[in-house]
């Protein structure tokens, strides 16, 4: 542990720390462009110069390039160091286009700050400026190369950290250009990070272009609602709309970067069709009246037909506090029919995980430090892209990645892949745990033998599962395998990708209640007559939407609380508008059981861009903001249950009633979150077989999560629409050949939903004999709920 003196203050830092980081420990700010905690130091900007007065290194040095050593005496205020910094800024500004008024970085530009801080106010260089041609980098990133100071941060982020290959640096001396070899859309699903990384305005957000200045943005720490990983984000809003999302920092989970789905998937908050008005029987009413109606009708139903005639359906999108109150409402009614996920497989997976994870839980930070990662039925880029980025960091640190999946799982790093049918994933897990691989043939045997050997030598292995493909039984096998492979020296970790930001929280609260398919049967039979949906849309999210829609038609009373224009919201007898995640405070529990709080960014209301139709706001004044009726889900439920409606009081009550949630009221939105030791209960044993047996010789189709843009909230976000592909199915080339199809062909896909037109894609890495169809909203593939297996037919229609 070297001990050094910076500006007359002594500091002891860990081995390997550079002087810039050591200075930061002392809260001494050293100006810099190219250094970034996640990217490391390269010493290319020359701004962090410090004077090394005494010790093993002396003279004017770049602080980020010198490792802290014992006995160093360093000065950040030395006149020589200050003068050098002034000159460096002046050089950086020689070719600058002086366009701050039209630059989106203005207000949060490091170059601007350093120029002011460096005192460079008068331009001495009278020569001409170098200029560059810009590239169109697709729908997310806007480039203005003239502003570049060649710090290399974008390339280090895009290529090194995120594993993108289509963005780089070209040229020499003053002709350095960053971009693609040929103009085109950036391919990486993490491309938005170069916007955050760029210290000037070279790379700015295209959807946010010219929208708002930083100083006008309302910002607050939040949690991304798009997947179960719970990345910290900082949404920014103005004029009653959320306009951008920037990565927050949580060293335990995602680190410093977020995926494009999280970054550009904010627009569901501003969606034009979002229901903002409470309704009872189709008539607009005040929120209070709708709450009274909901309370009375549910109570009336309980009196008339018994408490179990009402079912309560929560959601992975609802806040943890709201989910607790839903449980309390069910308890107050006396109903046992409480479930937090409409999708049976995801529900079972989440509940099994909440019951069995225990000591095996691993954070993304643990994953980055892992030396062996095995993915069973998890497709990180589709189900939670930041998981893929964490896996990449593990590989960069020397770890190995093995994928066992029927799908052709793409990762931004090297991985070995064993295509295996979905129903055999559990067998592999059991076989690995028992070290008995005789059931597998040559190729598979060799692969698994090798995997088994790697387990023996691994220090920090982690098993990753996906809820969609594994279901409850698979997750159970995953946890059992981890337990059996763990030894005193080496604990095997588990991480499972769940459906949404609060899947784990919902699973903890669900207890051993029935799953939604059982509830659907009861609705069909008429024993359940009323359904309360908290931010869920069973019409679309149930494992078999057509069956759900048929059953839900029998309901006498449908109460829906929602912030999105879902089918449940449209068809509800009593509808209550809730606030979107960016409009409320609350908390989510991510897939490792980490509870993270978020704060409200903006208040709900119709965006001014909408009320003014693109022009100035209307020239009228109202007492209330139009469209401001939505309230937080927990507020509505607390009001309905006649409880105290402040979040602090609510969290206190939860702490008092459930010992396992002690610490909830102290949770801070900017902290790394809190992992509770709470354990859930296992789901009811009966789980439907995933394979729907129909015609035996029919082709089997596996519905999967599509690429970025196929989640419900993401689908409602217009910036992501550009990334939505045309309907397609993926086949193994051998099977395609058997069906007389080749890549790029157009085909007609027939399922029990009807016909639709798809484009054929082929991939050698997937299992043979299966057709993969992604769920794509607003297309014919909308009903492809991930994890469900369908019979289908595929006929060729022509060349694309």
């Amino acid at each position: 542990m070297p001990k050094l003196t910076i500006d007359n203050l002594e500091v002891t830092v860990p081995e390997g720390t550079n002087v810039l980081e050591a200075a930061r420990e002392l809260d001494i700010v050293i100006p810099h462009f190219c250094y970034h905690e996640a990217l490391g130091a390269v010493g290319s900007c020359r701004l962090c110069a410090m004077m090394f007065v005494d010790g093993p290194v002396t003279g004017l040095q770049m602080a980020c390039m010198v490792e802290a050593q014992d006995g160093m005496v360093v000065s950040s205020t030395d006149p020589d160091a200050i003068e050098l910094r002034e000159h460096v800024i002046e050089w950086a500004m020689t070719n600058h286009p002086h366009d701050c008024p039209v630059c989106d970085e203005g207000g949060e530009c490091q170059l601007q700050e350093m120029t002011v801080a460096g005192g460079h106010g008068v331009r001495r260089y009278n020569g001409k400026k170098c200029t560059f041609t810009n590239q169109d980098l697709g729908p997310f990133v806007q480039q203005e190369m003239n502003r570049c100071i060649t710090c290399y941060r974008c390339v280090r982020t895009y290529r090194d950290y995120c594993g993108g290959t289509d963005y780089g640096v070209f040229g020499s001396r003053n002709r350095i250009q960053y971009g693609r070899f040929q103009e085109g859309t950036l391919e990486s699903p993490f491309s938005g990070n170069i916007i955050d990384a760029c210290p000037t305005g070279v790379l700015t957000s295209k959807p946010f272009r010219f929208k708002t200045r930083l100083w006008d943005l309302q910002e607050a720490p939040s949690i991304c609602p798009h997947c179960s990983l719970g990345c910290a984000t900082i949404p920014g809003g103005r004029y009653r709309e959320v306009q951008r999302v920037k990565a927050g920092i949580n060293r335990e989970t995602h680190g410093f970067f977020i995926c494009d789905r999280g970054r550009f998937g904010y627009d569901h908050v501003n969606h034009q069709e979002r229901p903002r008005q409470a309704r009872v029987d189709g008539q607009p009413v005040a929120v209070a009246a709708a709450l009274t109606a909901a309370r009375e009708r549910v109570a009336g139903m309980a009196r008339e037909h018994g408490p179990n005639s009402i079912a309560f359906l929560g959601s992975s999108r609802a806040s943890f506090e709201g989910s607790v109150l839903l449980r309390d409402w069910a308890a107050a009614t006396g109903s046992q029919q409480l479930v937090y996920e409409a999708h049976q497989g995801r529900d079972h997976a989440a509940r099994t995980l909440a019951a069995r994870l225990g000591e095996h839980g691993r954070s993304l930070e643990d994953l980055r430090q892992s030396d062996l990662i095995v993915l069973f039925g998890a497709d990180p880029l589709a189900e939670g892209p930041m998981l893929a980025l964490a896996i990449r960091q593990a590989v960069r640190n020397g770890g190995k990645v093995i994928v066992i999946d029927p799908r052709p799982v793409e990762l931004p790093c090297a991985a070995s892949h064993l295509p295996l049918a979905m129903e055999r994933l559990t067998d592999v897990l059991t076989a690995l745990a028992q070290k008995d691989l005789h059931a597998f043939d040559n190729h598979e045997h060799a692969f698994l033998e090798n995997l088994s050997e790697q387990f023996d030598s691994a220090q920090r292995p982690v098993l990753i599962g996906g809820a969609d493909l594994l279901g409850g039984k698979g997750v159970d096998a995953l946890c059992s395998t981890a337990a059996q492979l763990s030894s005193a020296e080496c604990a095997v970790g588990v991480m499972t990708m769940l459906a949404g930001p609060n899947s784990y929280g919902g699973a903890l609260l669900a207890g051993d209640g029935p799953d939604f398919d059982t509830i659907l049967d009861a609705i069909q039979e008429g024993t359940i007559r009323a359904l309360v949906c908290l931010e869920s849309d069973p019409f679309r999210e149930a494992m078999d939407p057509s069956r759900a829609q048929a059953a839900l038609g029998h309901l006498e009373l449908l109460v829906s609380f929602d912030a999105t224009p879902g089918l449940a919201a449209q068809r509800a007898d009593i509808f209550l508008p809730t606030r979107a995640n960016a409009e409320m405070a609350g908390s989510y529990m991510n897939n490792e059981g980490r509870l993270q709080a978020f704060q409200a960014v903006i208040d709900p209301g119709l965006p001014i861009s909408e009320t003014g139709a693109g022009n100035h706001p209307p020239r009228e004044f109202f007492q209330t903001t139009p469209g401001s009726a939505p309230e937080a889900d927990w507020w509505l439920l607390a009001e309905l249950l006649e409880r105290d409606t402040t979040l602090a009081a609510l969290r206190k009550t939860i702490e008092q009633s459930d010992e396992c949630f002690v610490g909830l009221s102290a949770i801070d939105a900017e902290s790394t979150g809190l992992r509770f030791s709470a354990q859930g209960s296992l789901p009811p044993a009966a789980e439907q077989d995933l394979l729907q047996t129909g015609v035996t010789d029919a082709l089997k189709l596996l519905a999967i999560t599509g690429p970025v843009g196929s989640h419900w909230l993401a689908h409602l976000s217009s910036p992501l629409a550009a990334t939505q592909p045309k309907p397609y199915v993926v086949l193994h080339p051998e099977q395609a050949e058997k069906l007389g199809l080749s890549a790029g062909d157009r085909a007609r896909l027939t399922t029990h939903f009807g016909h639709c037109h798809v484009v054929i894609r082929t991939d050698e890495k997937m299992v043979n004999g299966l057709i993969l169809a992604p769920q794509l909203w607003d297309t014919a593939l909308e009903g492809m709920v991930p994890g469900s297996m369908l019979d289908c037919q595929l006929e060729k229609e022509g060349k694309a």
Binding site: P97, H98, D99, C100, P101, V102, G106, K128, K129, C130, T131, F132, T133, N134, E144, N146, F170, G171, S172, R173, N174, R175, I176, Q177, R209, F210, K211, T212, R213, W215, D216, Y239, I608, S609, G612, G614, N615, H616, P617, R619
Partner: protein
């Protein structure tokens, strides 16, 4: 002694007032008579145009940031040629204190104060003025400056076509 001082203090103001009776008055009969304020007087705020007639405002929000009473609001937008402009621009003169900080902050000389001080109105909404009310057909105090001629983003001229710029470089060139 105080007695004499009080007598003086009582009579002197009357004497001075009497003296003013025989001087020319400084007040004028507004609104029949009007005084011309100096050219740099800070009254009605206008949005000026470039010498070529295009809108000068680039909606950079610096005026609204500088405004101590928050009476300026706007929304920036992008034109087809990449020009940043104000989709709407609103000044609430009912709130404006005519401090002139907006004009001082403006990097493009778009927002300027004028000597037109007759803004009063009984209808507050008439004091809330939009871009079409604010925009004038002229350059105001500077009839030469065009911001896009000087900033290197390739809007007024081709990229690299400003006076102080080399044309765009070829990063793939092999020449030293």
């Amino acid at each position: 002694m105080n007695f004499w001082r009080d007598i003086k203090g009582t009579l002197q103001p009357f004497w001075i007032t009497l003296g003013y009776l025989f001087k020319k008055p400084v007040t004028i009969q507004y609104p029949e008579e009007k005084r011309t304020p100096p050219p740099r007087y800070r009254a009605r705020i206008v949005l000026t145009r470039n010498p070529d007639g295009s809108e000068r405002c680039v909606a950079c929000q610096l005026c609204s940031a500088a405004c101590p009473v928050d009476c300026i609001s706007m929304q920036a937008a992008e034109a087809e040629d990449g020009r940043r402009y104000a989709a709407w621009f609103r000044i609430n003169f009912a709130r404006c204190i005519f401090c002139g900080l907006c004009a001082e902050a403006c990097p493009t000389m778009a927002i300027q104060t004028t000597p037109d001080y007759e803004i009063c109105n009984r209808d507050v909404l008439k004091l809330v003025q939009e871009k079409e009310d604010l925009l004038i057909d002229g350059c105001g105090k500077d009839d030469e400056y065009n911001y896009y001629e000087h900033s290197g983003v390739g809007v007024a001229n081709e990229r690299g076509g400003n006076e102080d710029e080399y044309g765009p470089v070829d990063p793939k060139a092999l020449l030293p």
